[in-house]
Point group: C2
């Protein structure tokens, strides 16, 4: 399987390309970097089949809308629970195939209602969006955020994966490109706490209002629309 991790310096978002037999998927592309992503896929002889969003992001506009203009055969994907529009609306347990491989959709709500984690067929990798970040997690104070729900999601759906599974998050602000389930179970600064402590921590982060949210969320709710 071909695998590439790509980074947006602006929003610190990671985009992932997975491909097999010339067919690929792109997870969490960023609008400003669509040209780069198309070039990478093209030069690696990958036909992009699905453009996946782990959730309706508040910090950057997804690249899936613009990608569909350039790659009319590619289908945008987001969870049904996100409330966003896309070509394919997925639910917990669904599989998204490329070549002879697939990722499975695991509903991991809490950061938003529609957050999902994509798990590769052999469980060697998971793409956690903002549910699990390296040593951290996404905030839960807007966009239907619910700390208790996030805690349960992560413990049931991510921390139940093998310790060796690589965790590929939607962001990292310190340049760490991946982690493992084992590491996060041991060293995550928030998710290793008790459920009550976690809820308390998340209620008191005192973070500023996300600067991109009023632009990004409305745009991302129509991420799958080609001609808006």
């Amino acid at each position: 399987m071909l695998f590439r991790q790509l980074f947006d310096r602006e929003s610190c978002t990671y985009t992932y390309l997975l491909a097999d037999g010339g067919e690929g998927i792109l997870i969490d592309p960023v609008k400003e970097l669509v040209e780069r992503d198309v070039e990478v896929a093209q030069q690696l002889n990958v036909k992009l089949k699905y453009l996946l969003n782990t959730h309706c992001h508040a910090d950057h506009v997804t690249g899936t809308g613009d990608l569909k203009k350039v790659l009319p055969d590619a289908k945008s994907v987001i969870s049904k629970a996100s409330g966003a529009k896309a070509d394919v609306l997925v639910n917990d347990g669904d599989a998204i195939a490329f070549g002879s491989r697939h990722v499975t959709v695991h509903a991991t709500p809490g950061h938003t209602d529609g957050c999902v984690t994509f798990v590769l067929d052999d469980k060697s990798m998971c793409f956690t969006g903002d549910a699990v970040l390296v040593r951290g997690c996404g905030r839960t104070d807007f966009q239907q955020g619910d700390a208790g729900k996030l805690f349960d999601s992560v413990h049931e759906k991510v921390f139940s994966l093998p310790d060796e599974t690589f965790v590929y998050p939607a962001h990292d602000y310190k340049g760490r490109t991946r982690s493992t389930v084992g590491e996060e179970k041991k060293y995550n600064l928030r998710l290793t706490k008790s459920r009550d402590e976690f809820i308390d921590i998340m209620a008191n982060l005192g973070l500023p209002y996300p600067k991109m949210i009023d632009v990004a969320v409305p745009a991302n709710l129509v991420c799958g629309i080609q001609d808006e």
Copy 2:
């Protein structure tokens, strides 16, 4: 083998951690991110044995000096040809071992006189510094830069590796985390040209004077000194 890629958003430098059997090496650490790197190694139970520099960088100060203060058993490494001080001065063909694995030193001068590429024992990865960047290469207009020498280095020492060998550069400014020898042989915007065209391109880049050079180079020339 354990492998981690780390990124500095400021200088767009990649730092690499390779480890086996609890022993590790760190390639091109950045001074400002020493704390992060020590934590990553510690949490992964890696004892850092060698701190490697691909060359005397002009765009950031190496982390090897500060790392040695925190990890007194770790040895700084740079090429003899760099003219810089370090605990271990290496030459073409030397091996640097960690656990049951090693990287081999390949002299790849041209960007600077002392540039080396580290090649992993099984040739699955090479760490090219600024000799080969994703679709590009380091400039050759200062620090003993010599475009003809760089062209020859890359063609003899990097493009002779298997097409599948991953290329891990010292930098990328577009968030691409790796490439392969095969890709660079096909798509590198400069190194796919003829030797004469390459020399011509490199002579006419018209780049500004590197803003960090007057701070970084003197500091990096003593990268291996513990108490300066």
